[in-house]
């Protein structure tokens, strides 16, 4: 089992290895996708062997995988697989078009693999200090991806991203510090003191005042990575300027990793402080994010910014679901995490194809996608409806669960407000994307790809992601249901 966990984290490093060995874009991309496939397969196997919810615990808790970590690891590995497959033809086309030099391509694959591997490692540690270290390191690796294109705009976005996120994560470190301090009555050895399973088991003995501060600092700090408002300001710029497959990784994997860290702190805080205080914190940040996200989606412009604000909104929904709590709320939150990751990966990957073909990222200049590029246009349209929570896709199911959890736990004002905001987001988002897929396309659209195989490779992750979303909307596989239930037991709200 230990070997499986290590393989999950090291799998995506095939891309960097190939890039450093001097492979060209297509070969490095294939290596990256193969490594991601290995990581995804191993993460599934790891989940299967966890069986009965008994976690993997080794090396003084530095390696610790339970159902929750395994579930998030599976999500991140799945997104990595989609993004790596989508990278193959995207990056090759950019290299052929002269937009990226060979050096930039090698940089891209080096940091993409490193980024994925650091996030997967962060999900497999039980030590909260190491969790900080790995999340900060993944920030730095992804900042290199944001600034990859080297233009003034992308460098500025990368700078904004790296400085705001680093500051945020440093604040989370201060939170970790106060958490550690709140346990100073426990007389723990230095290695045990930051180990999550130990802290959760002894949550009742923690000092409440410093734990309160620790939880708030952790939500603000890791919330910066999640993109919770008002700490979300880096997010639209970074998502808009990164190469599209990297945007998919940011939105569908990185934000989830931050949310995972918040859930770990939530479990400890809940064990000592009860549900009132964590709920107030999470509902405030959650609703702020949904409102900001929905309002900024109204503006038409860069479609990648639109998707980015939709991520802010969805992270807000997940925070609200965690705030509602209860089995229903947590189930909805976790399911929403997986569904949002898949839908957003499809959206950003199709936006990559769109921006390659139309040579623009402005929504108003894109017309007639369905006629010009049926597969991408169809994927964009379907993923739009999926991400907005219409049936029969998975997000409908998870958002319904969350609203039900709201009615079950809090006052009915909150779920009603949530429904109203979801309606606003629906109109704002669909207004832009339906405009992109309908109408008549411009006369001459040159294909950026060299071969039919490259076109097929572009379509593959879109079809795969949409198929998974459809399945999750109609039926939750038994294995997934078991994993979700075990995760809820692990969190223990």
């Amino acid at each position: 089992m230990t070997a499986l966990a290590i393989l999950v984290a090291l799998g995506p490093l095939t891309g960097p290895a190939a890039a450093l060995a001097g492979a060209r874009a297509r070969l490095a991309g294939a290596a990256q996708a193969a490594g991601a496939a290995v990581a995804f397969g191993c993460s599934l196997a790891l989940l299967a062997t966890l069986d009965g919810g008994r976690p993997l615990y080794a090396w003084d808790g530095f390696l610790y995988v339970d159902a929750l970590g395994g579930f998030f690891g599976m999500t991140v590995a799945a997104v990595t697989l989609l993004a790596a497959t989508g990278s193959i033809s995207y990056v090759a086309a950019q290299e052929d078009g002269g937009e990226l030099s060979g050096f930039q391509v090698r940089l891209y694959y080096s940091f993409l693999g490193l980024f994925a591997s650091l996030m997967l490692a962060a999900l497999e540690t039980g030590n909260l200090g190491l969790l900080f270290v790995l999340i900060e390191a993944s920030t730095l690796a992804s900042a290199a991806l944001v600034g990859l294109e080297g233009r003034a705009r992308s460098l500025e976005a990368a700078w904004k991203y790296v400085i705001i996120s680093s500051l945020g994560v440093t604040i989370a470190l201060a939170g970790t510090l106060f958490l550690f301090y709140s346990g100073s009555g426990l007389h723990l050895g230095s290695n045990l003191g930051l180990t999550w399973p130990y802290l959760v088991a002894h949550a009742g003995a923690l000092a409440p005042q410093s734990l309160r501060l620790a939880f708030l600092l952790a939500v603000v700090g890791y919330g910066t990575k999640v993109g919770l408002a008002p700490m979300h300001t880096w997010l639209p710029d970074a998502h808009a300027e990164a190469p599209s497959p990297a945007s998919a990784m940011l939105s569908a994997a990185l934000l989830n990793t931050g949310m995972y860290a918040i859930i770990r702190f939530l479990a400890i805080a809940h064990g000592r402080l009860g549900s009132t205080y964590p709920r107030a914190v999470l509902l405030s940040f959650g609703f702020a994010s949904i409102i900001i996200g929905a309002l900024f989606m109204v503006r038409r412009g860069n479609f990648k910014r639109l998707f980015a604000y939709s991520s802010v909104e969805h992270m807000g929904i997940i925070a609200v679901a965690l705030g509602f709590g209860g089995v229903l709320g947590l189930y909805g939150a976790l399911l929403q995490t997986l569904n949002h990751a898949l839908a957003k990966a499809v959206l950003f990957l199709s936006s990559g194809d769109v921006s390659l073909r139309y040579q623009t990222r402005e929504a108003t200049r894109v017309r007639g996608l369905l006629t010009a590029v049926p597969v991408t246009g169809g994927a964009l349209l379907l993923a739009t409806f999926a991400v907005l929570g219409s049936p029969p896709f998975g997000l409908f199911l998870s958002e319904l669960t969350i609203v039900r959890a709201g009615f079950a736990s809090a006052s009915p004002v909150f779920p009603l407000l949530l429904l109203a905001l979801l309606g606003l987001a629906f109109v704002a988002f669909a207004r832009t994307t339906t405009g992109m897929v309908t109408g008549s396309p411009p006369d001459r659209l040159a294909s950026p790809y060299r071969s039919r195989a490259a076109v097929a490779v572009t379509a593959a992750p879109l079809v795969l992601g949409l198929a998974a979303l459809l399945v999750l909307g109609l039926w939750i596989p038994i294995g997934l249901d078991t994993v979700l239930r075990h995760s809820i037991v692990v969190i223990g709200l």
Partner: protein, 224 residues
């Protein structure tokens, strides 16, 4: 883990280092020259390493000794030298003009934040009479001052220094609150800081070059 008494020799020394670190953060906030930012940050890190050494003696901890040496080598010497060579000298940075608030305003705000840090951390959080009760408000104030200087200054190099000051504030708290993180975590944090500074230096140089080219292009367009 025992708490240090505030009146013991080590407690007094730690308290004193904390005050010095806060004063150096204020000095940085009050300065307008890029050279000074780097010097004050370096001095702050040297004091921090002294504080770590003091705690190492008091707690008899080998890991804290390593931390003290690492702090001195990386934050006290390597980062200030690199910042001076790669940023201040190479980009010919002198006076920082990109501020969104005047010096006196930001100093007053800094004073208010320090008072706020005491209000938040002092009363219920920490047992009285321990050194942590004296130093943690100081470290919180340093964190807030670092954030303030990042908000007030718009120049990228100044923001980078602001982030490093926040990091120093967290470390000051770490030394006194919890004595040690596990060594692997400490080493990882240092690695992150070094990697962070490197990648930020790359972005800052890239941005500055692009801006310089942009303004040079403007100059050419306006000719004759």
């Amino acid at each position: 883990m025992e708490n240090l008494d505030a009146t013991s020799a080590a407690g007094v020394l730690l308290d004193l280092s904390g005050v010095l670190i806060l004063l150096l953060a204020f000095a940085c906030l009050a300065s307008k020259l890029f050279n000074r930012y780097v010097v004050y940050y370096g001095a702050q890190s040297v004091v921090l390493s002294f504080a770590a050494a003091t705690a190492a003696v008091a707690f008899r901890s080998v890991e804290l000794w390593i931390l003290a040496v690492l702090t001195l080598a990386i934050k006290g010497i390597a980062i200030p030298l690199a910042a001076r060579r790669l940023l201040v000298t190479r980009l010919a940075l002198k006076r920082d003009a990109a501020m969104s608030a005047g010096l006196s305003t930001s100093l007053i705000a800094g004073g208010a934040l320090t008072a706020f840090a005491y209000l938040v951390t002092r009363p219920a959080l920490l047992p009285h009479g321990t050194v942590a009760a004296a130093v943690v408000p100081l470290s919180t104030a340093v964190i807030l001052l670092g954030c303030l200087s990042m908000v007030v200054r718009r120049h990228t190099v100044a923001q980078l220094i602001g982030w490093l000051i926040v990091e120093n504030g967290v470390f000051l708290g770490a030394i006194t609150l919890v004595a040690t993180f596990p060594f692997i975590v400490e080493a990882g944090i240092f690695l992150d800081i070094v990697a962070g500074v490197l990648i930020m230096v790359v972005f800052v140089s890239g941005l500055t070059r692009q801006l310089a080219e942009a303004s040079a292009a403007e100059l050419r367009e306006l000719r004759g």
